[in-house]
Structure formats: C-alpha cells, structure tokens
C-alpha cells in the first residue's frame, strides 16, 4: 500500500547501530544466539514453501518417483500459451499507458506549483483506498447496466469492444488504475533526484525546443526509474487474478487456478513455480540495480 516512502532504505545510515556496541558492555553471546535462531527460522520459513513445491513437482509419479515430466509438459499443456500471451499483451499496454499518463505528470509537478503536486499525489493515492475487489464490483455493475440498457444505442459496439476477449480494454483500464500508486511513487522519486530545471535550461540554451529537451535530455536521465516502474507494473499484471477472474477472462494467473482445479496439479504448480522464480529474478534486478528500495506491497 502506501509504504513506499517508509520503505526507502538508505545504505549510508547503516553504521550507527553496529558500532554502538563498542562503547558499552559486551553482551555478545546471548544476542548472537538469539539472532542466529531468528535468522534460521526466517530462512526455513521463506525457503520451505519453494523447496516444498519443487519437490511436489518432481516427485509426482508414485511409481518412478523423481521425474521432470511436470516441467516438460509445460510446453504441451493446453491453454497456457494463449493465457500467457493475453497477460503479456495486457502488461505491455498497461506499461505504455502508465508511462504516457505519468511521465508528463511527474515532469509537470516537478516544475509546477506545490498545489499541483498535492492534487496529483492525492489522485494517485486514491486507488489505494478502494481494494481491487471493490473496484471490480463497480466495473461489474457498470457492465451489467450497460448490457441491460445500451442494446439499442450506438454505445453498444463500444461496450462490446471494451470487453473483447482477445484484448479486454476494460482489464487494461483497471490495471492502469491499480498500477498508478506504485508507478507514480517510483517515477516521482526518480524525478526528484534530477535537477530538471537546470537540465531543461541547459538544453534550451543549446537551442533545443522544449519537447526535444524533454525527450532527449530529461527522459534518458529518468530511465532507471522508468525501468523500475515498468518491472513493477509487469509483475503486477502477470500475477493479477482478482479483476480478471471475476470479470470472466483467462489470463495467466486465472489459467493456473483453473488448470489446477481441472486436475493438472503438478503441471500448474510447476508453471506457477517457474513464473514465480522469473518474477523474482525480475524484481531482484530492480532492487539490486536500484540500490535502494522503492517497493510496497499490494498483494492482489
């Protein structure tokens, strides 16, 4: 949720706590034992489910025991590819739309008045107070109302078009709303680190127009934040289940659950494990390359 600013972590402040012990009496043995115990329990808890699901996927055959078949079936199991395609398509469209909406905004509020900034901050926080399931119920009632009332009007085609199963625009709209708070925080933090005014002045003194200055001078400086925001949005869309399942679409996460219900247990668990590892690798790239944390959870 709104934890982004509280979860920013600055490595330069690390020294204080550690050197503190030198001045006082040494109480090493007990704290250290406790610390090892805490870290061990935490390690077991966080690695356990991953190791467990890996064992579950390779150990599915009661006769032969160990087998990779769950993983080799990934490529042949039906429905996975269309679902993944839909998710990736939606993710790409969401990222593009988020950038189109937010990049002019973060530049404008960096140059504009404090009032403009607070308006935008509040607007981007709003989706946090409406859980995604509540948003879904609102969309659901709108679509039902449309189906019941718009049949004989010119809006009927629009209504059908935004619900097109090949590319549900309605999901795209919901995903952009859900991605806004985190993407805004990330892009805004990246923007704050830049001296935009000076960059623009320098570019314009060298004869660049305003648009040119923004595209060729400001945006390249923002690419770290854009990468972060893009990756977080991608992770959000790939894992999204709430809105799509209730509105009746079958992107990746919904396919996994349906497949599991249909009896493909080990395969879907294998797919879910692979997707999880890939998503983590993605997010880990951000948190390592960024050097500091710009993440907050809003689990679906």
């Amino acid at each position: 949720m709104a934890g982004v600013s509280s979860t920013l972590y600055d490595p330069t402040t690390t020294e204080q706590g550690r050197s503190g012990r030198r001045g006082g009496r040494s109480k090493r043995p007990r704290p250290r034992l406790g610390r090892v115990a805490i870290l061990l329990i935490a390690g077991l808890y966080f690695i356990g489910p991953l190791a467990g699901s890996f064992m579950f996927t390779v150990d599915s055959d009661p006769v032969t025991g160990f087998s990779w078949s769950a993983y080799s079936q990934i490529f042949s199991v039906s429905g996975l590819w269309p679902a993944l395609q839909l998710s990736l398509l939606l993710a790409a469209a969401t990222i593009v739309l988020v950038f189109l909406l937010l990049i002019p905004t973060v530049i404008a509020i960096r140059l504009g008045t404090p009032r403009l900034r607070s308006v935008v901050e509040i607007v981007c926080m709003l989706p946090l107070v409406v859980p995604s399931i509540a948003l879904t119920s609102g969309i659901n009632i709108l679509l039902r109302w449309g189906t019941d009332n718009l049949a004989s009007t010119p809006f009927w085609d629009t209504l059908l078009a935004i619900q097109n199963a090949q590319f549900p625009v309605i999901l795209l709209l919901a995903y952009v709303v859900m991605a806004l708070p985190l993407a805004f925080r990330t892009l805004d933090a990246g923007m704050r680190a830049l001296d935009v005014r000076t960059l623009l002045e320098a570019a314009q003194n060298n004869g660049a127009g305003r648009l040119r200055a923004i595209v060729f001078v400001v945006l390249p400086n923002l690419r770290g934040a854009m990468l972060n925001a893009g990756m977080l949005t991608l992770a959000l869309v790939l894992g999204e289940f709430t809105v799509s399942s209730i509105l009746g679409y079958t992107p990746f996460a919904v396919w996994i659950v349906n497949g599991n219900a249909a009896g493909d247990g080990p395969v879907t668990t294998a797919v879910s494990l692979v997707s999880m590892v890939l998503t983590w690798a993605l997010l880990l790239v951000i948190s390592v390359s960024g050097g500091r944390r710009s993440s907050a959870a809003k689990p679906a």
């Binding site: 467990g52 009632i141 806004l180």
Partner: protein, 305 residues
C-alpha cells in the same frame, strides 16, 4: 513547463523582463495543468466512474427494466448474518496476521541491523523488497504443494493426523505472513537505523539494563513506526483476495470471498447489490486504515535522520 521562454532573445530589454517573466510563469502553469490533464481525466473515467457506480449501487436496488429506488437495505444486509461473519473473519485474520508479522518483522529487522555481516543485510533487504510485492496465486500454490492436504511436508510428516489443516484460519495466517513479514522488515528498518548509539550509551551510563533501555527508550521511539507498519500490514491483508481464493474456497469466511461469490452469481441474483454494499464497507475500512497510517508515518519520519 519550462522556466525559459525559448522565443525570448537572450538579452531582452530590462523594462520588458518582469512582464515576460510573468507571462512565462503563467504559460508554465497552464502547460503544467495541461500535462496533468490526461491523468486526471483517466482517473475520473477508469476509477471515478466505477467507484461512484459502486457507491450508488450500494444504496439502490437494481433490476433490469425497472427504475432503481434508494434503499438502506443493502448496507444493513451486508452487516448481518453470513456477511457480517465474513467481515469479522477478514478483520480478525488481518489483525492477527498483521500483529504476528509486526513482532516477527521487528525481531528479524533487529537481527539484521545489529549483524556485522553487510552481505546479510543486503540479502535480507533485497529479498524483502521482492517478497513484499509477492502474493496471490503462486504464493497459495507454493503453500498448498508444501503444507496442503497432499503437500510434501503434510504427507511425509503425517501432519493431518496431528490436526493440521492449511485450509483453516491459522493456515491462512501462516500464508499471509509470507508477504507481511518482509513488508514489516522494510517498514521498520529505517526506524531501527534511526536509533542512535548515543541513546543506548546514555541509558547505560544512567544504569539502565537492556530491558529498561528497550522499555523506556527504544520502543517509545519506535512506536509510531511499529503502529504505522501494523496498520499498513492490516490494510494489505484485508484487501487480499487472490491468495485466499486460490487456496481455501470458502472454508474460512472472508469478505473478499463473499463479494466474489455474490458477483459471480453463486449466491442469488439480487446479491450483487449486497456485494456493492460490502465493497463500500471495505472502502470505509481502507479509508480508516489510511487515515491512521499517514499521520503515523509522518510522526515516525520525525526521528529518522
């Protein structure tokens, strides 16, 4: 949007400058507003309209072809019977999981902050950044494969005979901790870093032991951060749907599951307006969460250098 009017010659006449600057400022403000406009329109359409439809539907009846009438019946229905049990179940689950995660996260963060190994700190922080963003279907599947009825640990250790079930209240708490504890670690580490060495030394010089130091110095300083973290975790757990939906079906009553059931028409046709009323209940609780969280976060920021 820019401070400089590109059409102005570099050495504009002195008397002209204030007016130019004013015009430039005005134009800049207008450009700023235009740049923000698409975002505002988008949020109004894609977020505002569904949110208003939800609020409107919570207070009205709906049947095709008939005029809708105002009623308080949906809201009162959403606060009684099975729906109330689900709301209470969600609050209880979120509060329990958030409380445990607050304590566990504090312990883990303290263990990391006082450790001499820089690598450990980086690993835990990176992993927390990843895990805190992680929930939903894959998380549920990982736990089902490990501790579910046919799970690897369940079958090997015969946990079912020992009375274990993942599809219960405590099972869900265990799963939720997986993303709540990392979130707490991220929230509280800046506060722990802000505890200054001098405070501990001052306490020790005055004869305080470790317990007294924590009781009278460290915990009071950390309280706003811990409370803020708790509220944040509560909000995260309260809004979570996918994890529970992929895991338990309906064996633990949760408000998110009830809303989904009502929307999917699993209950009865006219339940969808009650679903909207339940959504409104959720929004009210989320607003309360934010109203508590934001001041606490500001308060805790005061101690962080």
């Amino acid at each position: 949007m820019s401070t400089i009017d590109p059409t102005a010659p570099a050495g504009a006449a002195g008397s002209d400058r204030p007016r130019r600057r004013l015009r430039s400022t005005l134009r800049q403000a207008a450009a700023g507003r235009i740049a923000v406009l698409p975002l505002l329109i988008f949020v109004a359409v894609a977020f505002g309209v569904p949110a208003l439809a939800m609020a409107y539907g919570a207070f009205t009846t709906y049947a095709p072809g008939q005029p809708s009438t105002y009623t308080g019946g949906n809201l009162s229905a959403s606060l009684e019977g099975g729906y109330l049990i689900a709301l209470e179940g969600s609050v209880k689950l979120s509060a329990t999981a958030a409380l445990i995660a607050t304590v566990a996260g504090l312990l883990l963060a303290q263990a990391v902050v006082t450790s001499r190994f820089e690598t450990l700190r980086h690993v835990v922080l990176s992993a927390s950044g990843v895990l805190a963003n992680f929930g939903g279907v894959p998380l549920a599947f990982a736990f089902v494969a490990t501790l579910g009825n046919a799970g690897v640990l369940t079958t090997r250790l015969h946990l079912t005979d020992a009375g274990w079930s993942l599809y219960s209240f405590w099972g869900l708490v265990l799963v939720y901790l997986y993303f709540l504890v990392p979130l707490m670690v991220l929230s509280v580490i800046p506060a722990l870093d802000g505890l200054r060495r001098q405070w501990r030394e001052a306490a020790q010089n005055n004869g305080a032991n470790l317990v007294q130091y924590w009781r009278y110095v460290a915990l009071p300083v950390l309280t706003p951060s811990l409370l803020g973290g708790f509220v944040l975790l509560f909000g995260s757990a309260f809004a979570a749907y996918a994890t529970a939906a992929a895991m338990v079906g309906a064996s633990v009553p949760l408000i998110t599951l009830q809303i989904a059931d009502a929307l999917n028409g699993n209950v009865s046709a006219d339940a969808s307006n009650v679903a909207l009323a339940m959504s409104l209940d959720m929004v009210v609780i989320s607003v309360l969460v934010m109203a508590l969280y934001l001041p606490l976060q500001r308060r805790s920021a005061r101690w962080l250098v």
